[in-house]
């Protein structure tokens, strides 16, 4: 076996041994709150950006609450 093949077999064996205990969720996240990150760099534009649409209209967009 090549080294790569050995590692594959070792990983499969480890996987087999730990199958019952191991969780397959992705890592524990300790990242910042996304909303706070966006607030920090929020642009100084309160009236919305100007958009152009396929029907020819141009207007500022802002979400309707």
């Amino acid at each position: 076996m090549t080294s790569l093949e050995e590692r594959m077999i070792a990983t499969l064996k480890r996987n087999e041994e730990n199958a019952k205990n191991e969780e397959f969720y992705l890592g524990q996240n300790t990242d910042h709150d996304f909303s706070a990150v966006l607030d920090e760099f929020a642009p100084d534009i309160t009236s919305g950006y100007m958009f152009r649409y396929a029907d020819g209209r141009e207007e500022r967009f802002i979400f309707e609450d």
Partner: protein
């Protein structure tokens, strides 16, 4: 999902990053437009859908920066918001480029926030917040780094995103699907690649402004 069920965080994301990218693209390409006024809502619904799919794969209740970047990137690709003014088409790769750079912008904000998270006074924080966005940019891995080949990294990634869009499925073959978690890993690698440069940019700024560490 009703329009008003979009999260407040998505609305902030749209306003802070997505909308400014759209406005910039439309300003620079007079023949481009948004396909409909529903685009901000359509991207939002797709973003929330990808986000709830990714939520199921992690232990903690909130997604990390790379998955969020991947979710917004995938949502833009799925919606294909930008089109040509005079017909229903758009040059290949335009929406994918928009999507990719929007994902990168999300990641960049988080990276800069890491720096701001340090013990800075209000005034220092304000100055760093003004300095970093224009002095730190996300760069692509290069051939010199032995990380990519020809075509270049950006083009390869954009082309892969192009084929990830269902509507570009190869005739008579199954189309590829956007993979939120796989692209999140790519965003993560791009952060790792760029992180030392951000540290250097901040270190230079810190020294020239006599900031504490």
């Amino acid at each position: 999902m009703a329009q008003n069920s979009l999260s407040t965080t998505y609305k902030k994301l749209f306003h802070s990053i997505v909308a400014s990218h759209i406005a910039l693209i439309l300003k620079n390409f007079p023949a481009y437009c948004l396909k409909s006024p529903q685009v901000p809502y359509d991207i939002g619904r797709k973003y929330e859908e990808y986000k709830s799919m990714a939520d199921k794969c992690i232990k903690s209740p909130k997604l990390d920066r790379h998955k969020l970047a991947s979710c917004v990137c995938g949502a833009i690709i799925a919606i294909q918001p930008i089109r040509h003014k005079y017909d229903n088409s758009i040059v290949n790769g335009a929406n994918e480029t928009f999507a990719l750079y929007t994902g990168l912008a999300v990641m960049k904000q988080f990276m800069m926030y890491d720096i701001l998270d340090k013990q800075l006074t209000f005034a220092e924080r304000q100055n760093v917040r003004n300095y970093l966005p224009s002095h730190f940019d996300i760069l692509w891995p290069t051939l010199d780094d032995n990380i990519c080949d020809v075509p270049e990294y950006e083009q390869n990634l954009r082309n892969a995103l192009y084929w990830a869009s269902k509507q570009y499925g190869i005739p008579h073959k199954e189309p590829f699907q956007y993979d939120v978690l796989a692209y999140a890993t790519i965003f993560f690698h791009l952060e790792l690649y760029n992180k030392p440069r951000l540290d250097r940019v901040y270190e230079e700024y810190r020294k020239s402004n006599n900031l504490s560490a």
